[in-house]
Symmetry: C2
Subunit: 767 residues, 2 copies
Amino acid sequence: MTFTAQFDDVLTWSGVSAATPTEEMNGAGNLMDFLDEPFPDVGTYEDFHTIDWLREKSRDTDRHRKITSKSKESIWELIKSLLDAWSGWVVMLLIGLLSGTLAGVIDLAVDWMTDLKEGVCLSAFWYSHEQCCWTSNETTFDDRDKCPQWQKWAELMTGHAEGAGAYVLNYFLYILWALLFSFLAVSLVRVFAPYACGSGIPEIKTILSGFIIRGYLGKWTLLIKTVTLVLAVSSGLSLGKEGPLVHVACCCGNLFCSLFSKYSKNEGKRREVLSAAAAAGVSVAFGAPIGGVLFSLEEVSYYFPLKTLWRSFFAALVAAFTLRSINPFGNSRLVLFYVEYHTPWYMAELVPFILLGVFGGLWGTLFIRANIAWCRRRKTTQLGKYPVLEVIAVTGITAVLAYPNPYTRRSTSELISELFNDCGALESSQLCDYINNSNMSRPVDDIPDRPLALALIFKIVITIFTFGMKIPSGLFIPSMAVGAIAGRIVGIAVEQMAYHHHDWIIFKNWCRPGADCVTPGLYAMVGAAACLGGVTRMTVSLVVIMFELTGGLEYIVPLMAAAVTSKWVADAFGKEGIYESHIQLNGYPYLDVRDEFTHRTLATDVMRPRRNDPPLAVLTQDSTTVEDVETLIKDTDYNGFPVVVSRESERLIGFVQRRDLTLAIKNARQKQDGVVSSSVVYFTEDAPQLLASNPQPLKLRRILNLSPFTVTDHTPMETVVDIFRKLGLRQCLVTRSGRLLGIITKKDVLRHMAQMMNQDPESIMFN
Amino acid sequence: MTFTAQFDDVLTWSGVSAATPTEEMNGAGNLMDFLDEPFPDVGTYEDFHTIDWLREKSRDTDRHRKITSKSKESIWELIKSLLDAWSGWVVMLLIGLLSGTLAGVIDLAVDWMTDLKEGVCLSAFWYSHEQCCWTSNETTFDDRDKCPQWQKWAELMTGHAEGAGAYVLNYFLYILWALLFSFLAVSLVRVFAPYACGSGIPEIKTILSGFIIRGYLGKWTLLIKTVTLVLAVSSGLSLGKEGPLVHVACCCGNLFCSLFSKYSKNEGKRREVLSAAAAAGVSVAFGAPIGGVLFSLEEVSYYFPLKTLWRSFFAALVAAFTLRSINPFGNSRLVLFYVEYHTPWYMAELVPFILLGVFGGLWGTLFIRANIAWCRRRKTTQLGKYPVLEVIAVTGITAVLAYPNPYTRRSTSELISELFNDCGALESSQLCDYINNSNMSRPVDDIPDRPLALALIFKIVITIFTFGMKIPSGLFIPSMAVGAIAGRIVGIAVEQMAYHHHDWIIFKNWCRPGADCVTPGLYAMVGAAACLGGVTRMTVSLVVIMFELTGGLEYIVPLMAAAVTSKWVADAFGKEGIYESHIQLNGYPYLDVRDEFTHRTLATDVMRPRRNDPPLAVLTQDSTTVEDVETLIKDTDYNGFPVVVSRESERLIGFVQRRDLTLAIKNARQKQDGVVSSSVVYFTEDAPQLLASNPQPLKLRRILNLSPFTVTDHTPMETVVDIFRKLGLRQCLVTRSGRLLGIITKKDVLRHMAQMMNQDPESIMFN
C-alpha cells in the first residue's frame, strides 16, 4: 500500500506529461520505465522555497483521477472515494471546532489572568472578577465593585482596601504580574517555538502565496502560540489576540491537513485549507464569520477558488458557533463588541467622520513607518540580541504608565467595548458619568477628555514599540483602541457642542434642546474602523466586520466614508499596509496581487543570463554524463535546469528540477547496476545509440517536465508578472523563435519589480 | 487631438511588443514606422467573438503609462491624469445613482400598475392602493381595505362593491389589464430591443467572461428593458424583477463607460465596471449591498481584481442608498423583505430545515430540466415563431388561475413578504387569521393549507413555462415564492404539531404549552433560500443576502443548512445551475471557473490541425505576397494566423489577427503607393533583400503580436484549460522543441471539454 502510494507520487509529474490518453488505461505500460525503486522525496520542496502551483494542481488532478477510476472497481474503493470527496468538509468542521474551542479557552484564560493582576476570587481562585461576583451573589452589574468575594491583592494581604499604601501595593503587584507573564511568554517562545512570535499574518500571507516555511504552522507553534498568547495579552502589553488567532487557526488547519493525504501531500491543496482556516481565525476573533471570509479573501489569501469561499464560510460559521457555545463573554453574544445604538446619524456628522478617516490614514502611515524603522533597527543593531530584555522593558514601561489611568489599566478590548457603547441609563461606565450624574444640568468638568487624551498618546507610542517583539502580538486591537479613543473624544466634543449650541445652524435641523442627538459611541466605532483601515488597508472586509458588530446597515455609510478616506490618505503616503511592509522587511518572495506593474520592460531585460554573464546552465537530451550533471549541481545553485536538444540548436524540450535530479542520480547510483560517472544521462523516449563499450545509460525522462512554461523574449514584463501571479509559477523559460535564451524565476521578477520601484532588489532573499 | 488618440490606439499592441525600454523615451523613433495614416479599427473585436484579456490589459497599461509620463509635463496634463485616476470612482457613483433611481422608479411603477389591475385611486389615479389610502386619511394598516378613496373597478363602474357580478367584472378586468400589459411588453421587446428579453444574467456572465455581444448593453436595451420590465411584472406573470435589474444596472454601467475613453476603448476595463454594476443591480433588487457584491463575485463575474471588489461595494452602497431615499416601499427600509423574528430556533428544527433543503434541491433540478427542455422545444419547433402569442397565452392562463386564490392574486413579492412575516398581534395577514381569531382555542379549520398548496403547485408549473419567454423575466422571485410557500406550509405543520403535541419528546424541552415556539415565517425564509439555491447554485452570496434581510446572525445556521443541502441535492443531479444551462443552450463560449477538468488528455489531442487535416495556415516572416495573404483570408475563416520563420523550419515568431491583417492590407492598398498584389509582406525588423524589379514590400510588423502564448504538445489539457481560464486567452499555439505544431482556440477547448463530458461538442457555436 505504502509502496504504491509513494510510487504514484513519483509517477505523477512525468505521468501527466509523457503518457498519452491511450496509455492511461494501461497502467502496466508505465511500470516498465520504473523498474528501479521509487525515491520518496521527488516532487517535494525545500524549506524557504517557492512551490509550483501548476505542478501541485496537476498532481492533485492525477490523484483525483486515480481515485475516481478505482472507485468503479469495488464497494470499498467507492467508499474511499466518497470519503476523499468529503474530507474537505471534515477538515473544515474540525478546524472550526478546534479553533472555536481554542479561542474560547484563550478568552477565558485571558479574562482570568488579566484580573489576576489586580486581585483574586476568594471562593474559587480560577474565577475572573466577573465570574466571581456572578457566582457569589446575584448582584446587578452596578454592584460589581462591591462584590465581597473578589479581593484586590492589597486587601487580601493587608486587610486595607483603600488608602495610599494599598494603592501602591496594588500598583506594584500589577507590575510584577505583568513582568512575570511577559517573561514567561518571551522565554517560552524563545526556547520552544521561535515562529510563535509576532502576529503571523505576514508569514501566512507569504505561505499562502506559495512559499514553504517548515514548522511555521507546526504543532509546537500551535501549542506555544496559544499559551504565550494568553500570557502576552494578560501582561497588559498593547497588543491584541486577533492576528495570532489567525495564526493559531492556520496551525489547526495544517494539523488537520496531516490527517488526509489529499492535503498533506499537496502543497496547493493544503493552502486551500489554510485560506479557510484564516477565515475561521478572524471569525472567532471578532465573532464575524462573513467578515472573516472576506478578510481571508481580501487580505490573506492568494489562490482562492470559489469552492474555498464556500468552505471557508462553513469553517468560519462552525468556529463562531463553537465559540458561542463556550460563551466566554458570558452574554451568549457572538460578537466581540456588541453595540446597539438608538439614535440615527445625520448628514452633517459626515464631516467629523471623514476627519476621523483622515486621522486613521495619518495614524496608519505614522505607525507603519515608525514600526518598520524600529523593526529594522532591531534587525540590524545590538537590540535584536536581547529580545527577553526588550520585552521585559516594554512590559515594565507599559505597566507603570498604564495603571494610573483607569482607561489603560483594564484590558484593551474591554476599553474598546466601553468606548463603543452608548451611554444608556443602565451604563455604569465612567465614560458616562458626566451624563448620568446630573441629567438636568450636565456639569462639563466630569467630561473624561484628559484621561482619554493621555490614553491616546500612550497607546500610539507604546504600540509602535510593541508590535514586532518576540511574543505573539496582534495589532487589530491596539489600532482599534487608538481609533476608538480618538473617535470618542471627537464624539464627546460634537455632543457637547450640540448640547450647548443647539441653535447653531448645523444642529438646528436635527437636534432639539436637551435631546441626545449625538452618539459618541458611534464616533468611537468609526474611528476604530478608520485606524484599522489605515494600518492594514483592509476595505470591504473591514466594513463588513464592523457591520457585523453593529448588525445594521444604518451605520454602514459613516463606516465606509471613514474607511475610504483613511485608505486614500494612507495610500497617498505609501501603498503598502503593515503586513506587506513586514513581508518586505523579511525579504519574503511575495508577489502582491494588488501591485500593478506598469513599466515598459520586456522579458529579455529581466531574464538571466544577463549580457555579460556566462551562458545558461543547460542539460542536453542525450549527451550529458552523470558526472557532468553532478558537476553542474555542485557548481551552481540553480533550482533546476532546462533540457535542450543539443547545445548547438538550443531547442528546448523540457525542464528538470535540481532536487529531483539530485535524488534520481543518488538513487540510481545506489540501486541501479551499471550506472557510473561516465554513464550518459538521457531524457529522450529511447536510449541513444551508444557504443557497446559505453556504460549503461541512465534514463531520466520521468523527472523531466515536458511542458515547461515559456514566453518569448519580446513579452512585456507586465504580462510575465501577470502570468507568474495568476498561474503561480516558479520559473519561466524565455525563447525566441523556438531557441532557448534564458530563464526568469520568481525572485528575478520580484527583484526587477523592486528595482523599477527604486527599492533595493537585494531585499528579496528567497526564491 | 483625435488624430493622436487614434494613432496611440494603433500603436499600443505593437508598441509594447516591439519597443525596447530605451525606445520608450524616444516617442519620435516609433513614428518612423507609421508614416502611413493609422487605420482606426485595429485592436477591436468583431461581434460574437472572444476578447483577448492579456492584450486588453497590455493596452490599458500602455495608456496608463502614457498618461503618467505626460502628467509631468504640465499642470493641465496632471489634472487630466488625476481625472483619469478618479474616473473609476465617478463611474461607480453614476452607476449607483442611476441604477438606484431606476430601481425606485420601477418599484413605484410596478406598485401602481399592479394595483391598477384591481382598481383605481379616486383622489389621484397615479397613486397605488397603499399610497391612496395613506393620503386620504390616516388610517391604520388594518383599515386599509376600508379606505374610501380606493375603488375596485366593479365598484367604480357599477357602484356595487360586493356580489357575484362585481367579482366577475373585477376578474375580467384583471385578466384584461394583464393581457394588455404583457402584450405591450412583448411587442416593445420585439420591435425595439430583442436583447431586452429574459433575465439577462446568462448573457452578462458570458459577456463578463470576455465575449462581445454588441447592443446587448446598449441604450435602447436599457430603455426598453426598464419599461417592459414594469409591464411584465405588473401583468402578474410568475416572474421577478431581480435578474433584469442586474441587466439594467449593467446597461447603466456600459452607458457610463462611454463617457471615459479609459473604459469605452478597452474591453477588459469595461468588464471591471460591468462587474461592479452587476453588484449594484443585486444591491437594489434586494436592498442587500454586501450580498450584491458577493453575488457579482460568486455568480456573475469572471475577472474580479480586488480593486473591483472595493468599487463594487461602493457602487452597491450608493445604489442602495439612492433607492432608500426614493423610498418606494414607504417604510424607509433598505431591504425588500424586512423581517424580525422574536423566537429563537431550536436544534430539533434543523430536521425540517434540512428537509426544506432537499425540497429546494429537487425543485432546482426539476425546474432546470423542465425549463431547458421547454426552451429547447421553443428553439427548435414552430413554437418559437409566435412569441407574442405565447406570452399572451401564458399571461391569460396565469391571470385566470391566479385571481381566485388570494395568495396568487397579489404581486409575488408581496406574497413572499407576507409569508416571511411573523404572526404578530398587529398583523392583518390572512395567514395569521387562525391565530389571531381566537387566541385561546385556535380552530384548526382556518389554517390556510389548501390555498397555499394550490398556490405552490400553480407557481411551480407556471414558472417553468414563463422563464425564457421573450419578455424581461427574472426567476429569483418565483423561485423564492415556491420555497416560501413550501416553507410556510411546513412551518405551519410543525407549529400545529408543537401546539397540539407539546408533550412529545422533541417538543418537550423547548415548547411550553400554549406558547409560540415555532416561527412559520422563518421556515418560509429557509425554504426560499433553499429553492433559490437549488435553481441558481448560489452559496455564500445567497446566505449573505438572506442574512442582510434578517439582519441577525441568529438565523444563519438554518439558512446555511438548507442552502448546503439544497446545493448538494441539486448537484447530485447535475452540476449546472440555470444560468449555466441557458449559456449552454445558447452555445456561448463560456469557460466556467468552477468546472474542474480532470481528464488526462494533452494539448496535442486538442490542437488543430488534426491528424488528417490539411496543414496549419501560416504566414512566413518575409516571403508571402499580399496576394497570398488575401487568398488565405478569403479561403479560411480563422481569426488569426501564426507567423513562422520559414515553412521548412516552422519556428514561430509571432501571431497576427485576421481582422488587423485585413484592415492593414486594405489600408495599405488605398494609401500606400507601390503596394500591389505581388508586393512581399514582411514581419521582420528590416525589409527583406529583394530584386529592384520587385514591387515595394509591405511592412506589417506593427500588427504582429511578438509574444504569442505557446504551450508544448505534451502539456496536459487541465493546465491548458487553467491557462485559458486564468489568463483569458483567445488562442494558444502548440509547439514541440520550438517548432510550431498547431493551434488551440477557446472554442477548441470548450468543444473538447464538452466531448469529454459526453455532450455535443457542436453545441459551442462561437469563438
